[in-house]
């Protein structure tokens, strides 16, 4: 039994999904945070597959994400639909419900946040609502796990007994009624042929929805009949077709609500949100507060929480190395195998693993910003600024996620409705320095700028953003000319992020990172160890200068001479960094041993240019692959990667020359 979970953005859809399936999934309070179709079996009900679809307001899609939902419903034809409705915002939520009911699939409406409605003195008569809509309605509170058993029973029995929604007439008579009847008759046979409900097809034809009209394959004569019927209605009602349809639906909803809904006093949640917004979106304070919040997050992540745990973890890893070393020596293990385990595996993986706490902490803060509803506010007050560089306020979400990792950030651009904004945002995401580069920055600032670590780190982040803005401005003037698209966005009430969902997210990120450390990074370090231990005749080398790796690295090294580091070990580490940015650190550790500072390979100036180059050059292979998928163009992706390497080289060169002057 395949069930689709469909609802407006911010209706608590993902929370319900988590409660029903117990799956590891992220809950967002920003419009449209669900970027992938997640599926799961409903707990306790065998052979069910619940699909969490991106939030939509109407079956008329605007963003590529909304298209996913509509395509899934129309093409995959789920056996049933759970339509989640935010009871505190019932009118606009039912607008989608009416369209879903027209589809004619077995459907149950889950009336969510009923606890908030009751707390504000309101009530909803679900029996009346169910009677008027002709489908089962179950009141629930997803966050408090209320009514979930009823919901599961309702949807399974509705699907198993093939209970289809009753035919609904939004208006009993009048021009619109006649039009819908007439068009339903005209398109009926065609609709049945492609297995969609004639009534739904009729509304879509009236809306002039091209994909559906093409799907129906209507003849010229049929289209002419439809067109003249619409003209007649428009003349009679003095309303165009779209306004007339929206008006009909909302009038029907208002009528039902007058019957079944008792509105409470102004909701406490809204009053609180308005109060919070007095400060957080205050005319003068909003942007300084935002910067302060971001600064605090970075400070706590790097200097306080992350550092504390990272130091402990690093100490632990060092102890492991010491104990293993002693044990292996006492045992008399073959020195090559010993070197493989200690210098290759443990040293490489360990150097990366110690950054786990920093990355988890950063994701913790980002998820709180998102789930609380604050990110939507940031989009609201940053829109005007972002529009100046050709983006929209909504671009801020992917960009902020980019501080964590470029891969989910690039995927989050699906929430943007214009393809121009989307491409621009994808292009700029790598200029928000991702958390995988943190190990590199941390290692180098500790070695070369011990007195100004925080300052150097912040400067790097800001430098990347400034270069990103410059790139955006150039793009806006050249490739991405054109009008800005609309910015119509819901501002959800502030909500306490659910502890469960934040913890689930942190666990998910920790697991991903550990997995990466033991797969990609582990493999890479073993390969590096192998290449630096043997020469091309597979003899063990006395010094890694004669190794296979040196042979390769020396070919590339001269490219970086103008940047101040002409050492094959460094150029190798940068190439290895393409697999994962953390691997830059692990391979430097393997190649230099523990003494990068004493090695003399870097001066302060060349360390700075190395940092800048690492900051700006191509994102890792996972991010590039995601970019290729989302842009759907290999050549454009390659061009972007090359351009980024070039920009990184130039910036590194300038920094090195400036450093040499000082």
């Amino acid at each position: 039994m395949i069930l689709a979970l469909v609802g407006n953005q911010n209706s608590g859809k993902t929370t319900l999904f988590n409660q029903l399936t117990g799956a590891n999934q992220h809950v967002g309070n920003f419009p449209g945070v669900t970027v992938e179709q997640k599926t799961g079996e409903i707990k306790g009900v065998k052979d069910t597959l619940l699909v969490d679809l991106p939030g939509i307001y109407s079956l008329r899609p605007f963003s590529s994400e909304e298209l996913i939902t509509r395509d899934f419903i129309l093409r995959h034809k789920p056996d049933g639909i759970i339509n989640i409705v935010d009871a505190t915002n019932i009118e606009r939520n039912l607008y989608l419900s009416l369209q879903l009911i027209e589809l004619g699939y077995p459907i149950v409406i889950a009336l969510n946040m009923m606890d908030e409605v009751r707390n504000n003195g309101g009530s909803i008569d679900e029996k009346k609502l169910s009677h008027r809509l002709g489908v089962p309605v179950v009141p629930i509170s997803a966050i408090n796990k209320e009514g979930l058993d009823n919901l599961v029973n309702a949807i399974t029995s509705t699907v198993q007994n093939n209970l289809y929604p009753k035919k609904l007439d939004f208006v009993k008579n009048g021009a619109m009624h006649r039009l819908v009847q007439k068009v339903t008759g005209i398109v009926s046979a065609n609709a049945q042929k492609v297995k969609i409900s004639p009534r739904f097809a009729a509304t879509k034809v009236i809306e002039n929805d091209n994909p559906i009209i093409t799907m129906l394959d209507l003849s010229k004569a049929q289209l002419n009949l439809v067109e003249s019927a619409i003209k007649a209605m428009e003349n009679e009602l003095k309303l165009d077709r779209n306004a007339a349809l929206a008006d009909m639906r909302y009038a029907f909803i208002e009528n039902i609500c007058a019957d079944a809904v008792v509105k409470g006093s102004e909701s406490k949640e809204r009053k609180l949100s308005l109060k919070i917004d007095k400060i957080l979106t205050h005319k003068f304070a909003a942007i300084p507060i935002f910067l302060l919040i971001m600064f605090t997050i970075f400070y706590l992540t790097f200097e306080v929480v992350g550092k504390f745990f990272s130091d402990i973890l690093a100490m632990g890893i060092n102890e492991v190395i010491k104990i293993c070393d002693k044990g292996f020596t006492a045992y008399g293990l073959n020195p090559i195998v010993k070197s493989l385990i200690l210098n290759g595996a443990i040293c490489g993986v360990g150097s990366v693993l110690s950054f786990l706490p920093i990355i988890i902490t950063l994701f913790f803060f980002l998820s709180i910003l998102e789930d609380s509803g604050y990110m939507a506010r940031v989009a609201f007050f940053m829109d005007k600024l972002l529009r100046k560089i050709g983006l929209s306020g909504k671009s801020i979400v992917p960009l902020l996620i980019g501080f964590g990792c470029s891969v989910p950030a690039i995927m989050a651009t699906r929430t943007l409705s214009s393809s121009r904004d989307r491409k621009m945002t994808i292009l700029l995401t790598p200029y928000v320095s991702c958390s995988a580069k943190i190990p590199v920055f941390a290692m180098f600032t500790a070695a070369f700028f011990p007195k100004h670590r925080a300052l150097v780190m912040i400067t790097l982040y800001i430098l990347a953003i400034i270069i990103g803005i410059a790139v955006a401005l150039i793009m806006k003037k050249t490739v991405f000319k054109g009008k800005p698209v609309s910015f119509i966005m819901e501002l959800p009430n502030y909500r306490f992020p659910s502890v469960k969902s934040v913890l689930l997210l942190m666990w998910e990120k920790a697991r991903e990172f550990i997995l990466k450390a033991f797969t990609v990074i582990f493999t890479v370090t073993i390969i590096i160890w192998f290449l630096q231990t043997f020469d091309y005749k597979l003899n063990i080398v006395d010094h890694n200068d004669d190794s296979l790796l040196a042979l390769i690295g020396k070919v590339i090294a001269p490219i970086f001479r103008p940047l101040g580091f002409n050492d094959w070990r460094i150029s190798t580490s940068l190439i290895v960094g393409f697999s994962a940015k953390e691997a830059v650190v692990s391979s430097l550790n393997v190649l230099f041993g523990a003494s990068i500072l004493q090695s003399g390979a870097f001066t302060t100036a060349s360390a700075a240019s190395f940092l800048v180059f690492t900051l700006l050059y191509t994102p890792c292979v996972a991010a590039v692959a995601t970019m290729r998928k989302e842009l759907n163009s290999t050549s454009k992706t390659l061009l972007i990667v090359l351009a980024q390497c070039l920009i990184a080289w130039i910036a590194g060169f300038i920094v090195y020359k400036m450093g040499a002057l000082l």
């Binding site: 606009r92 909003a286 306020g393």
Partner: protein
């Protein structure tokens, strides 16, 4: 008058939704249709976009988009 001219804290009744294409469809879908009551809640710190309260929820839209919405001001 149009929605962008309505003062902060003022109420209005929508009389007509202009504009075309996707923008207009989106506005209609979000419940911005004739005879609906709106309140202007605030302007973003830099003066654009604006936040309105409609059908029990908060919506933001740019002034350019608000220009497409005709309203009649009413007392609270």
């Amino acid at each position: 008058m149009t929605l962008d001219k309505l003062k902060i804290g003022a109420f209005g009744i929508i009389t007509k939704v202009n504009g075309q294409g996707e923008l207009r469809l989106r506005l209609l879908d979000m419940g911005i249709i004739p005879n609906t009551k709106v309140e202007v809640v605030k302007l973003a710190p830099l003066g654009d976009p604006m936040e309105i309260h409609i059908r029990g929820y908060e919506l933001t839209l740019r002034l350019d988009e608000a220009k497409q919405i005709e309203v009649r001001e009413i007392a609270k």
